[in-house]
Symmetry: C2
Subunit: 432 residues, 2 copies
């Protein structure tokens, strides 16, 4: 007899097979009939237990099954009598592996703190399972797109001697005799070394921000993909980003129809976002926000509330382009047409999901970059190697960083970032 | 005119195109002829500069080119006059982007300390470039194999409250009001929660060991893939590992022929390793080592020297199976036929590349695991969630961990681990 997975059930209709997995739920229909909602990681199926099909002993075992018990079921898959395209499983033999007593997550509403403490179990819920499958798709859609475009994966280090995005939100790690190391906030600077060898590179790993923010948008540990390419200028950089995001939308719609349904995601909204993106300058966005009554200045950055307003009338993401230099990083190249601005754009998702990409052309002139590093007050010896990249074979180049979790939130329509990573790390949480 | 990459050169023979990249080297043949070895990340090509082809001005520019200068070349690709399958590029126009003055890495031999300090530049060498391309292949061959087998990517956290492999080699990170967090040494325990939702999962990220070892095999930060699967037992676990490793060998041979040639890798040895792997018990291996004159006991672990001896007479990797329980982790399941042994195996690569995989079936009984955790002296509250996995729906399960860098070393034939990761972190090095 074959052991099969639920995802392959329709290839075995009418044949006796074995399933292995867990009881998601059960229902007593009568003294002779029970239903078990059975799951095995590849899918869920309704298993039907007729006392007359399986005999007294096996039916007694069915009666012992509780939520999250592990079990082997031998039986025959068939079509659901009423529902088109749905299958069910007629149980003949039950082999109990482990009976779960008082599984702590029930049908009632639990608070987020309780669920986060039970994250190792909460992950089994239909919703969390669906989110993790979408995470898998988004991760590999990004890799697939970039690999296909000739980018090489180039892992930047986590332990770093210097800070790429300011020093107030760094986690420190005592490092032997070397003093403190810091957990990386972005691999970008290292990628700029990588392109000089490989042309186009990306990293995709965990990054860390010791931010004291406790919002639904903040994690202290999250995943980031940074991409960087030699000879790519600002406009082409935005084009690559747009193509990438649209490829991800396609991939999720095509590969995760079932999961999007479980999450009750409005797929039409995703489909509508798969159209040419808009570009607005930072200045145009400020004007728009002023029109909407926001008290904001041309030199200001956006908060979460403003970010949501930027795309509230748009079905597609919007690039906010050409920011004032003073609110952006030292490594961004100045706009040759207006040196108060940088050749950088942030991509804001629709439906209030906020910034998903930050990108820019990089400053490639040694002396200008040196001045900027000095002006920021950074220690020059930390950046010597970075300056070397402008001394030996500097070329125009651009790149961008994608926050994986923000993107998953948008794709899956999940409002709280804590649900889209297996084990979220928050300011007050490192367990489990 | 088209801008092309060197890898596509043979599709543009005889047509005027533009290349962009860097000067790897140059050679003066006469007052009217120079050769430039030109690279762009996708490949290298010999560019030929005839004064008569390009005129005085352009030839003067060629004469200015130094090692690692960045430049645009317009010209015509053609076949090499002597070498079959090799192409060259006839330069017509030279646009200098940046002249590199005194590039620090020269033709002479440099010591490893100097090269590590210049890692951001050293990466450009033909050898380092080839290694990074093989790294890309190995990384995605692993993902490809596992995705194809129905494993889901499931990122385990880096910041953790507990230690999976002992507490002496942990990096500590002060974490807000929560006390210390630790940098992960392995995601395995978290994957065991993942399989209860998704069936088969893997992570693939950086892990950290604060080991005070300064050998050619040690990094403080390296990349590890952990895989875990529900309902998989010890023997099947080894079969998955063998298939995975053989898939990686295939992939590297097929995708990196050019890079293996640059590295002077003996491909025949790789091809011979792609045959059924051997399995020896730990006891058999000890006997073999004793026969070879090693002073070793049946309860001993292997050092680097012993690991090399294990496969010195074998063309294929060898699984060292069924280890004494006392030298292996608490979570490994005991051999039902001999409770002094565990159902665990390490995979040792041939050619002296040492251990590349550690795997085992996991203890799935709650009470036995509880006893072990107590016996190790670990704090029970750190492991409560891990014990929960045995309380609610425990199933037989197995998994393994692959050290990415060790695998790349073997595939590329590189003796020093510091060369197979973009920015190696060693006990005395976090720069650049």
């Amino acid at each position: 007899m074959k052991t099969i997975e639920i995802k392959d059930i329709k290839e075995h209709l009418g044949k006796e097979v074995k399933l292995r997995g867990w009881v998601r739920n059960y229902r007593k229909a009568s003294s002779k009939l029970r239903f078990v909602i059975f799951r095995d990681g590849t899918g869920d199926i309704q298993a039907v237990a007729f006392k007359s099909d399986m005999g007294e002993d096996n039916f007694e075992k069915v009666k012992k099954l509780t939520i999250e018990s592990s079990v082997e079921l031998i039986g025959i898959p068939g079509k659901h009598p009423q529902k088109e395209g749905v299958f069910e499983f007629h149980i003949k033999v039950v082999n109990i592996i482990g009976i779960a007593v008082d599984y702590p997550i029930g049908k009632k509403e639990h608070g987020p703190d309780f669920l986060l403490s039970q994250r190792h179990l909460w992950l089994r819920s239909r919703r969390q399972n669906a989110i993790m499958k979408i995470r898998h798709t988004v991760y590999f859609a990004i890799c697939e797109y970039l690999n296909d475009k000739g980018f090489y994966r180039f892992d930047s280090p986590i332990l770093t001697p210097n800070a790429s995005e300011g020093t107030t939100t760094l986690f420190e790690v005592p490092y032997f005799e070397e003093g403190n190391a810091y957990l990386s906030q972005s691999g970008q600077l290292y990628l700029e070394a990588g392109i000089m060898s490989l042309g186009k590179v990306y990293d995709f790993g965990p990054v860390f921000r010791a931010e004291k923010s406790k919002t639904r948008k903040h994690l202290t540990e999250f995943w980031m993909m940074d991409a960087e390419a030699a000879f790519v200028k600002h406009e082409e950089n935005m084009k690559i980003q747009e193509e990438l995001i649209r490829f991800i939308i396609h991939s999720v719609i095509n590969r995760n129809a079932k999961e999007l349904e479980i999450l009750e995601r409005d797929i039409e909204k995703l489909k509508k976002a798969d159209a040419p993106f808009k570009i607005m300058t930072h200045r145009q966005v400020i004007d728009m926000l002023k029109d909407k009554g926001v008290n904001i200045d041309y030199k200001d950055d956006f908060g979460a509330a403003e970010e949501e307003m930027i795309t509230e009338d748009s079905e597609v993401p919007i690039f906010v382009d050409r920011w004032p230099k003073d609110i952006k990083s030292f490594y961004m190249k100045r706009d040759p047409e207006n040196p108060d601005l940088v050749l950088g754009a942030d991509l804001i998702a629709p439906e209030g999901f906020g910034e998903i990409i930050g990108g820019s052309q990089r400053e490639d002139d040694h002396d200008i970059l040196l001045e900027r590093i000095k002006k920021e007050g950074y220690d020059l010896k930390d950046y010597q190697w970075f300056l070397d990249l402008r001394k030996y074979g500097s070329v125009p180049h651009s790149g961008f960083g994608v926050g994986l979790e923000r993107l998953i939130q948008w794709m899956s329509g999940v409002r709280h970032i804590r649900e889209v990573i297996p084990f979220p790390r928050l300011i007050n949480r490192i367990y489990p």
